[in-house]
Amino acid sequence: MVSKRAVPMRKLSMDKRLTTFEEVALGYTEEEALEEAKRCLKCKLMPCSRLCPLNIEVPEFVKCIERREYEKGLNIILKANPFPAITGRVCPQEVLCQKECTLRKLGDPLAIGRLERFLGDYQIENNIMNLNVPEKVRGSVAVVGSGPAGLMGAVELRKLGYEVTIFEALHEVGGVMVYGIPEFRLPRRVLRFYVDYVKKLGVRIEVDVVVGRTYTIDELLREYDAVLLATGAGTPKFLGIPGEELNGVYSANEFLIRINLMKAYRFPEYDTPIKLGKRIAVIGGGNTAMDVSRIALRLGAEEVIVLYRRTEVEMPARREEVENAKEEGVKFMFLTQPIALIGDEKGWIRKIKCIRMRLGEPDASGRRRPIPIPGSEFDVEVDNVIIAIGAEVNKLIQRTTPGLKVDKRGHVIVDKYGRTSIKRVYAAGDVVTGAATVIEALAAAKTVAHTIHRDLSG
């Protein structure tokens, strides 16, 4: 008889969760993984594999776990996805591989993400790296950006026999995985393992290079056979309301960069400061809003309130992250839209003028549209505001690359194989789609790497 409930994931103790950046989800032990793996029905439909953007053969690797053939199971994943300890942690499995799991008819879907992470952690513990690349060099490719799409593109192209150089604008490798996602969701040792793997494969990585400025695309095309743009969506959006220039107001990106990349939480040992008060409002309802809120609590905020203009049901954040945030004490004010930020005589944010919303008819996104209720304005007193309403594509490359076609939101226009309007220039990930998930960027980059291979091998 199959258990209706998935084996739960153990979490870090609450006192540690509120005072450290240690990972919250502790991962399955071997016993737990074996027990969960048993629940898989090995159904013929394989909705898991079909809905996985990388089409990982889920039932196959789960079978291997059951037989305790961990390395074999790992290798099944690695055929499709070189970064299982990352995706096992940050994928929104509930809307992908686990969404149509046959087990849902009985109860919980199979905890595929946790099982993937189990094998990913096994890989790191045992330092398993498949470093086989063809000896023959087929050509050279410059990859711009070292986030999920850049690293994936580099790995695929290297395995296809290309010499690959990644150019990264920041001083550390990993893109959103190093500046954006906090340590308690993705420990840096996991990222470091995979960056190390990419380097060991023979991929060259140059940091401190801002393509568009340090090198233009044209110059890269002179040195390389192809260029893959994987620059992501790294420019923060603001609300467009009065007062966003006040001190104490951060974009989520600035807040995250100061904490995750610059380690401002260890100021003054590290030189970069962050200035937080007791009561912090976070605007937005996505995963970034949850990350930012949970970091703020760890930095000693007494009260962190998420302001979201719709209701909990419409929040784009993963259920799991919302639960984590609630457990840690994050508060929520739904149906609340900020309309102005108001400062004191010193130019520091003091309160947010808000308006109550109600939900109307569904909009283009399928979610019910929030509509302001006239006369319902009210103030929320705060010491800081962190704006986490999304990010858009950085305009730097398009501005410095004549001939690169982008749409009106700045997304690079590509054909279905990832070719841009410039010959030998390709693009993948958020720079094409706008802010999306790690796994979608990985899948896109893989496809484009194979396009590059096809085009270059004529």
């Binding site: 001083h171 006040l246 600035e254 003054p268 040992e269 010193k346 130019g347």
Partner: protein
């Protein structure tokens, strides 16, 4: 890792550093800046490119040792290293023939004025430079600026050199007699604010080169946002130069002061750690 070729004091508390950074030297244009991080625990700060030599593969920066990062940078010896130098960043100055250009510099801003005036001169403009400092000892790059200027005026707060008073007073007097085709100002934000308010009644096009707090310097964080013409703009990718008549200087000045206490704290922490050398 970027090797330091020389690092000299050119005035009390002000240094001129030459760093080996060939790919930046090759691309640098007047008006652009770099972001540096001195060591592993360091902050990222923007510094304006003062000079560059594509043959030597080097860039030159001038900085005042006021904060933790600039103190650390001051300690890097010849042959030592700066961990990260990224650039060139920001939009270059639009160099064309305007006619008569008045360049106004203050403090370390005088160094930033130099490459821009040099390029304007090359483009056939008549260059009037006005440079100011608290006292004559702090007046930097006077000879170099004189070389690229048709006229050069000096102001010091204490009158130890040139006119006694602010450099903006010189501009005011000049405008009473002549109206140039362009005013270009770089220096303390308050100075650029005063310059812009002096030129406004004359309708002279006024460009200011802003230096707000930045973190990445590539458009990712928005720390450098400034209100220009009622809209939020990022100094790092939309600037650093803007129309001085459209900049909301008061909110910018306020933003620059945001970490004043933290900066003091970090400095005293650095001093407590003692005189460890960096990058050697």
């Amino acid at each position: 890792m970027f090797k330091v070729i020389s690092n000299r004091i050119i005035a009390p508390g002000i240094r001129r550093i030459e760093i080996l950074a060939p790919r930046i030297a090759k691309k640098a244009k007047a008006g652009q800046f770099v972001v540096i991080r001195v060591d592993e625990k360091g902050e990222r700060i923007p510094l304006t490119l003062v000079d560059w030599d594509s043959e030597r593969g080097s860039i030159t920066l001038v900085f005042q040792e006021v904060g933790v990062t600039t103190r650390k940078l001051g300690r890097v010896r010849e042959g030592g290293y700066v961990l990260d130098v990224t650039g060139p960043l920001g939009n270059p100055t639009e160099i064309k023939r305007y006619g008569v250009i008045v360049g106004v510099g203050g403090g370390v801003g005088n160094a930033c004025l130099l490459p821009v005036m040099r390029e304007f001169k090359r483009a056939g403009n008549y260059i009037v430079s006005m440079i100011g400092a608290r006292t004559c000892e702090l007046l930097i790059l006077e000879d170099e600026l004189r070389e690229v200027s048709d006229e050069l005026y000096i102001a010091t707060d204490d009158g130890s050199r040139g006119y006694k008073g602010f450099v903006t007073d010189l501009l005011k007097k000049y405008l009473e007699e002549k109206v140039p085709d362009l005013v270009y100002a770089v220096g303390p934000t308050i100075m650029m604010k005063v310059v812009s308010s002096i030129t406004r009644p004359y309708g002279v096009r006024t460009i200011v080169s802003l230096n707000p707090i930045m973190v990445d310097g590539t458009g990712m964080c928005g720390a450098c946002r400034v209100i220009v013409n009622g809209k939020l703009r990022f100094a790092c990718i939309d600037g650093p130069e803007f129309d001085g008549h459209k900049v909301d200087f008061d909110s910018l000045i306020n933003r620059i002061r945001m970490y004043k206490r933290e900066e003091e704290l970090a400095l005293s922490f650095l001093e407590k750690r003692g005189g460890e050398d960096h990058g050697v």
